[in-house]
Symmetry: C2
Subunit: 160 residues, 2 copies
């Protein structure tokens, strides 16, 4: 993560106020590499600022994510756990717009870790996910629909 000073000035840039709560959350996050949950951030931060609200932690993490200073660990279970009828190891191609998942049933050469990279882990399996936009979601109408607009079909080819 960036340095505290960089982060603080970035918040100012965007017109966000520097509050003690935001400051203590950022100070915790700056040197954190454990991919904590909101609850874990709350626990740590509330030992320094006992009266901070859990809601503020949740909200701040969401704001930082919106600003791109933080990222939720990618997962495909946005709207609840999804079940896979294919139980052999395989990979996925995922549409970020409509959440369609397609299976990729082949191995990728070179997708393995060196002993140093594995850092003592006993590797059991690995899994790749490709993020993209499916053909259906690439059409202007789909883009509009995803954004919550109503589409006027007559307007589609009227740019000339």
């Amino acid at each position: 993560m960036k340095s505290i000073d960089t982060l603080l000035s970035r918040l100012r840039q965007r017109g966000l106020r520097i509050t003690p709560q935001r400051r203590v959350i950022l100070e915790f996050l700056v040197n954190e590499e454990s991919h904590p949950t909101a609850e874990q951030v709350y626990q740590r931060v509330s030992s320094l600022m006992p009266d901070i609200s859990r809601t503020t932690v949740y909200n701040t993490l969401r704001e930082l994510s919106d600003l791109g200073e933080l990222a939720p660990v990618q997962d495909l279970s946005q709207d609840g756990r999804r079940y896979d009828t294919s139980t052999e190891p395989h990979h996925h191609l995922y549409c970020v717009a409509c959440h369609t998942i397609i299976d990729i049933h082949r191995d990728f050469e070179g997708m393995s870790l060196s002993p140093e990279e594995a850092s003592g882990y006993q590797i059991l399996s690995h899994q790749a996910t490709f993020y993209g936009i499916c053909p259906d979601c690439q059409s202007p109408a789909s883009v509009a629909t995803q954004a919550g607009w109503t589409v006027d079909p007559d307007a589609l080819n009227s740019e000339t």
Copy 2:
């Protein structure tokens, strides 16, 4: 997924009863490749069996997963969303026992899809996760603790 008959006999093997509810859920799943959520399975199945309980669908999906006939799509957010202080694309090494996540900051050659494999998707990014057991979790004491046992230190070296 396996054929209905294979699945049914497998349930019998394990001493599970073949009920109309389980049958209709399996019949839906056999030809399903969309990675549905429990709610989606419920919606489809309840159009054929309107009085089926949502709970039964949830329970059956969990049972089938326990039996290995079905698999939840892998994700690292088992105990809530986790935040990543590194926002550049990178990969992960994940301990399936203690849920520790380590970053892998390098690219893997050959980790890309052919045009046919991409099936019209506009690929935006990709991400790999390596599943394993971290050094801490490989010790007998850790294995026991994870399983919920209490460890007697004197018992550890007494196999001779």
